[in-house]
């Protein structure tokens, strides 16, 4: 028997809306007005969706593919190392690792694209557009 993940997600939405509604009870009246009505709306819609999915006995299947998960984890690591290693170095490491994970085998291709992408983005954002991207701590 397959599990109806739509019902599960609908229950998650409904439960979260209740939890957030309780959280808004500590807000001043004016601040709480809008969020509370939106959360009530979300709760009602979630219940309706859950009932509809349960009655149709159909929902989306769930399967976890490994590559998007790895790329997401690498992206989170990338975000964590930028303040420490600077934008250029972090971007070089990230693009190299990502391409390797996704199946690029030629070292020359990985190196060229990683160096090129880091340089182009850094020059464009930092020099042309004046966005202060984090630099390597030990650079001049």
């Amino acid at each position: 028997m397959s599990f109806n993940f739509d019902v599960l997600l609908a229950m998650f939405f409904a439960g979260t809306s209740i939890a957030l509604y309780v959280h808004t009870l500590g807000f001043p009246e004016v601040s709480a007005y809008f969020p509370q009505r939106i959360l009530m709306f979300i709760f009602v819609l979630s219940v309706l969706w859950g009932i509809e999915s349960w009655r149709k006995k159909e929902g989306a299947s769930v399967s976890l593919s490994i590559k998007p998960v790895i790329i997401f984890v690498l992206s989170a690591i990338y975000l964590a190392i930028i303040p420490r290693l600077g934008y250029v170095v972090s971007t070089f490491i990230y693009t190299s690792a990502s391409m390797a994970v996704l199946g690029v085998r030629r070292i020359a291709t990985i190196a060229a694209i990683s160096v090129g992408a880091s340089a182009v983005i850094f020059i464009l954002f930092a020099y042309v557009l004046g966005v202060p991207l984090p630099r390597f701590p030990f650079s001049l």
Partner: protein, 504 residues
Amino acid sequence: MGINLLQNIALGVVSFFSLTNLLLIGIGTFCGIIIGAMPGLSTTMGIALFVPFTFSLSPIAGLAMLGGLYNGSVYGGSISAILLRTPGTAASCATVFDGYPMTQKGQGAKALGIALVSSFIGGIFGAVILLSLAPPLASFALSFGPPEYFMVAVLGLTIIISLSDDKSLIKGFLAGAFGLLIATVGFDTIEGFPRFTFGNVGLYDGVSLVPALIGLFSFSQALRLCLKPDSKNAVPAKSNLIGNALPSWTELHSIRKTLLRSSIIGTIVGILPGAGADIASFVSYSEAKRKSDRPETFGTGIIEGVAASEASNNAVVGGSLVPLLTLGIPGNSASAVLLGGLLIHGLNPGPMLFTGRPDVVYGFIMSLLVANVIMFVMGLAGLKIFPQVLRVPNKILVPLIIVFSVAGSYAIQNSFMDVSLMLVFGVIGVVLEHFNFPLAPIVLGIILGPIAEDALWQSLIISNGSYAIFFTRPISLVLFVLSVASILYALFNKYKQQLLRRNA
């Protein structure tokens, strides 16, 4: 008045027409297209970055360059929206709906051609309206107060119905409600109370639209492309021939009403202070779908969908300058920065500007018309080049999209919180799309939520708490009736389609 207008047009042409100014418009347009095409770099950011470059230029030269950049960046957003499903600017979000499916069908160059022609037509329309009707239209803008803005937001939210698939209206509303909820994060503007920040200082300013947009579309798309790393997108056959990309006369004729309607919508939305090209493109897309004989084809990759979005978002350029030049009230954030460009040259926008410095005002407006022509020429040249990005295999494209997304998200406020939010929204986008949720209503909710809430409270303050204010002001009442009619009409249509499906 007619002779006066002609005299002013002639004065404008004489004032602005020089090789230097044409070159500056070209530079501005080129940079604008590049900025617009990159997710994370907004039109507003581009204009703000270039304003200092105009210090040493004459007023007309400086404004002409900024106008070219403004115009070019709105069009530029369509390039990445069509080819990579990553809208370069929020104004091109609606272009994704049919632009990317066209790319998937091998019609990426055609979609770019439609976007270019539509942007050109919309841009010219907006500039012509600005030229001929600026002062009377300004009084129209003044008649909009908080009750009218609240109703505009409500009317805008009814678009969710047309953005939702036939089978998932509940999911469309859930997505819209989620977007509205996201918009409440941060300090509320009435009490100054931090909502849903959970003690995180980085959330005090709320969730910016751009990281959410980049996450939902760009980053989530990159994660999806990981599933097919060796694939390339379908490169249009004979993509090196411009002729295949531009719409034929038959195609242009078939979308003429859409182009006109969308240009009008874009100009009107642009005139309203606070409503920008993003709202205009959604409204135009929704109207095009509603008025179409085959609304079920929208979202499958049809030229009408691309035309509706692109004509309206470029028409906003001219529209947004109406209240700016006549009243000193910016029509949107981009024109707000342009106001800075005016002020640094000692030009005070308002009625006196038209009579005191007609050479500058009309010179600027004429330069906008020329900027559209230059944008068209540059876009034509780009039609050969842009689709080549489709030849890049996904295993190389994915990391590049992500590093651009990270840089773009960071560039907004130099904040890693925005980048973190972008990653989170990326995951949300993947999950929700897997469960067949439309993503556009989320973006719509984030855009319209603050407008709706602020206008609601301002209206209630004005009326001492009485909701009657929404029904006693003529424009507000008309907008309310339109909203109700819009909902009833859409629900009736969906019910009719369900009945037809059951009987088939």
